[in-house]
Amino acid sequence: MKRAFKLGQLSIEFDGEAAVVHGPAAATPEIEVEASEEPLRNWVRHDAARRYRPLPGSNDMQPGWRARCDDASLTLAEVLEIVYPLAMLHVAQHREGTLRVVPLPDVLERQSGRYARAVTLSAEARDVAVSVLCGQCVKQPVWHGANAGKGEIPCPEACSVMVSLCRDAALWESTPPTNAPVDVQLPWAAFERPGNAIREQYLRERFETSDQVGLSDG
């Protein structure tokens, strides 16, 4: 009998020969999402407010759904590949010790065009970017020294969203923007727009001094 397991925000159970993939738990009954390519991809690429999730690993997957994989649908492996591309492969390679890990400096150094600026971000500021962005992703940045345990997905290389954040963060170093109220309607990765949640968190953690934190806390 196949054993249930977890992968990121998913829980996978088996019902005879069929696999049932559950999204994050919700208080309401689960919605059945068709385990075929287009409907499933469209479902997991949007959060509960129908906002686009450019990062498959972001921890804001819609809750309260399931997809049943049987003879008439995609296989379990195909479903997992749509939800978390390459995750199962990287889990296996990590376990076997064959995962090719690329450190952040290597990724930033090879950028060009509008992203060439990203490499100028200091090590200290890069740590803030990793803390903020990877803190919202279920993948474990092994490229930054994190460990990936059972049910966790190792991330072997900084993603393009991280490169984009580093690029914008490098621009903010010379004249730090002031914080703006968070606007949850803004696109998830629109870091150049005041009110973007990740931008605002980064600016607070990078530029707000302990004195300012004390003052704002009253």
């Binding site: 390459l86 492969l89 990765a189």
Partner: protein, 240 residues
Amino acid sequence: MSGSLLLVGHGSHLNADSSAPVYAHARTIRERRQFDEVQTAFWKEEPSLSRALDGCASDVVTVVPVFMSTGYFTSEVIPREMGLTARVSCVRGKTVRYAGPVGGHSALAKVIVQRALEAGATSASALAVLGHGTERNRDSQANIYQQTENVRALGGFAEVVTVFMDQSPGMNEVFELTTAPQVVVVPVFVADGWHAGQTIPAELGELAGEDRRLRYAAAVGTHPSVADVILELAQEAAAW
């Protein structure tokens, strides 16, 4: 053909639909079962270009860029991110054949014509082949001019001209560049995204005159026949 076929696209951090045509063409080609597997990868989505070969099970991979221009992305970004050094490269034990972009293949001209006809073009119409263009990289215009020549050679329209969104001749000059009563603008873009789906039709809408009619076609890259162009590119690469 066997081995892995890898379609690479731009993708987006902001627009969920921008990668849809790449997924659609991959699905079409997968159903034809000509390759052991058909995978996708993106500059701005996952799987990323830099990890794309991780997901290819075969030792022989054919990479086809679903891009319209031969320029910065196809000449610099994709090879750099994927570790490609030549038309045929060896990357971590895999033989990788790197085909040209969809926008550079002569077979795309028939898709442009198809889009024009769908939008109502007749033999009396002028057809304007619309490219993105950029003043920063003049190489990116070459495919658009070549496709204009290819469409002109196929015949069937009173006039065929080239216009661009971001360089001259601009799309706002389309009536000055043509004389036919009806002009059909065909966007040589991968997706009906922000530009092809929104900003361009809005800007063209302001041009319509009383005695001239302007029609706007769907993006070339979303046409199902683009899958055939991809297969032609892959077939040509297999002969290298």
